[in-house]
Structure formats: structure tokens, C-alpha cells
């Protein structure tokens, strides 16, 4: 049987950071990255090297009860030589509780050269409930290509 080697990645942080403004999700650790594609641990962007439809997911924690905990999953794409930025998923919860886990998952068709990352929006989402040092992955940003 021919084994498939899908493009895939999973990145995370062990820190508990309240992400203010529209700052990037500071996910500086790589759990795994396979196939083509690269992840920059300094600007927190995954660069796509193979076009295709990917299953993408992110998990994080909301904060206070009024807090929307907005996370925008973003794709930067060059179109006709012009750099564009598009939000491909916005997750938020208003008045639903505090410190709960948020875990949106979606399918999206990616192109070579796309850069994927997450940015905060209104409500300062948090990367983890608490910082930790164990060999665990409580929350993460991940993706895996499905179509070949």
C-alpha cells in the first residue's frame, strides 16, 4: 500500500498570554511539521508550499464574561502581484461564560505562497488558562491537507 505523506503542522505555546489589540497569537513552539510548508517561530506564520484544501483549527481560551475573545484566522495572499489579507474565520463568544475553550475548525482552499496565522480581535483572547512546562499541547494552531 502506498503511504500518504500529507502536508501538516501543529504549533503552540506553553505560555498563558492575554493577547491585546490585534496582536498575533504568539505560538513559538512546533509540535510537528511534515510534508512541505514552513513555520516561522518569530512572526508566527505558516507558509504554504503546496496548494490544496486543508482542515485548519485553532484552540484558545476566552477571558471575562463580556469578553468576545475574538480570534481571526488570517491568510495573506499575493493576488496579481498585490498582497492581500483576508480573514477566513472569526470566532467569538459574547456573554457565554469565562475562561472557556474555543476551538473553531474549518476547511479552506490554500494556494502556494499563502501565509496563515491568527490575530486577536476585540476582547483579548488568551493562549492558555495557565502557563505550563510539561510536554503537553493544551491549545494549538494546526492544519492538514486533505485533497491529492
Amino acid at each position: 500500500m502506498t503511504q500518504r505523506e500529507e502536508v501538516r503542522f501543529k504549533v503552540y505555546t506553553k505560555s498563558s498570554i492575554n493577547i491585546t489589540g490585534t496582536n498575533y497569537f504568539p505560538l513559538e513552539l512546533i509540535d510537528f511539521i511534515g510534508g512541505d510548508g514552513t513555520y516561522d517561530t518569530t512572526n508566527y506564520k505558516y507558509s504554504v508550499q503546496n496548494a490544496g484544501t486543508c482542515l485548519l483549527g485553532v484552540s484558545y481560551n476566552k477571558r471575562t464574561i463580556q469578553n468576545n475573545g475574538v480570534c481571526n484566522m488570517v491568510v495573506d495572499r499575493v493576488v496579481d502581484g498585490v498582497s492581500t489579507t483576508r480573514v477566513i474565520n472569526k470566532s467569538q463568544e459574547n456573554q457565554t461564560g469565562t475562561f472557556l475553550t474555543m476551538n473553531p475548525v474549518l476547511m479552506y482552499k490554500l494556494e502556494v505562497g499563502d501565509e496563515i496565522y491568527c490575530r486577536a480581535g476585540y476582547g483579548n483572547p488568551s493562549t492558555n488558562l495557565n502557563s505550563y512546562t510539561s510536554d503537553d499541547t493544551l491549545n494549538s494552531l494546526w492544519g492538514i491537507r486533505f485533497d491529492y
Binding site: E5, E6, G34, L100, D136, F146
Partner: protein, 123 residues
């Protein structure tokens, strides 16, 4: 977390009495699990991968899910992640603290309100 009914299991590797799935073929898997809030309780549920390393059992959290506080009774939480697994790894959802429920109220077959699932999608 004992999801005690089996819808399908291609490798016949899920134990309905323990809630543990044992990996038969190593690779990258997608896993999902769901649960419901018990009003007034903060539940922390971890998706665990238990692996024997140098004859020592090592448990790693693959994904954490919590309702935090002030979340109403019977709210549903559904988590999805991917993880690299090796043959004989054990995968299960574990209630670390608090209370939760798998069924918010009575249902009968073939309805499934929540589940624990996995699928191998790469080497």
C-alpha cells in the same frame, strides 16, 4: 470519559468499558470529542495520549477543553485536533477536574449527541 457505545471501529481497537482507543497503525490522526456542561461546575477535560517510552508510561495532553465559569448547564463543547501517534499509543478523553456529562438529556438510538472519534489521515 467512557463513550460506551460503538458506532464503527475499523481496527476493533476501542474498549467501550474503559473509553480507550489503542492505535494499531501509527501516523497522524484527527481526533474529536464532545461533552456537556453540568451547571455550576468547571470541567477540565484533556485528550490524552499514553505512550510507553523506555518501559515508562508517559501521558501527554493533546488538547484541553474547559467550560471555565459562568457557562450555563447543558452547553455543549466540541473539540478537534490532530496528533502524531505510534502503534500501541492509547488515546482517551479524561476528566481532570469538575463534572461533565456526555448526554444532556435522554436520547435513543440511532441518535448521537456527542462522541469520541478518530481517523488516520497521514503517515
Amino acid at each position: 470519559m467512557t463513550y460506551n457505545n460503538e458506532d464503527y471501529d475499523t481496527e476493533n481497537s476501542y474498549d467501550t468499558s474503559t473509553g480507550i482507543y489503542t492505535i494499531v497503525i501509527g501516523g497522524t490522526y484527527v481526533f474529536t470529542f464532545g461533552w456537556y456542561v453540568v451547571g455550576g461546575s468547571t470541567a477540565v477535560i484533556n485528550l490524552i495520549r499514553k505512550r510507553i517510552v523506555d518501559e515508562v508510561s508517559v501521558e501527554s495532553i493533546l488538547q484541553q477543553s474547559t467550560n471555565g465559569t459562568n457557562t450555563d448547564n447543558n452547553s455543549g463543547f466540541f473539540s478537534t485536533t490532530i496528533a502524531e501517534c505510534e502503534t500501541d499509543d492509547e488515546i482517551y478523553a479524561y476528566l481532570e477536574s469538575g463534572s461533565c456529562r456526555l448526554i444532556p438529556y435522554g436520547t435513543g438510538d440511532p441518535s448521537t449527541f456527542t462522541s469520541f472519534s478518530g481517523s488516520r489521515i497521514s503517515n
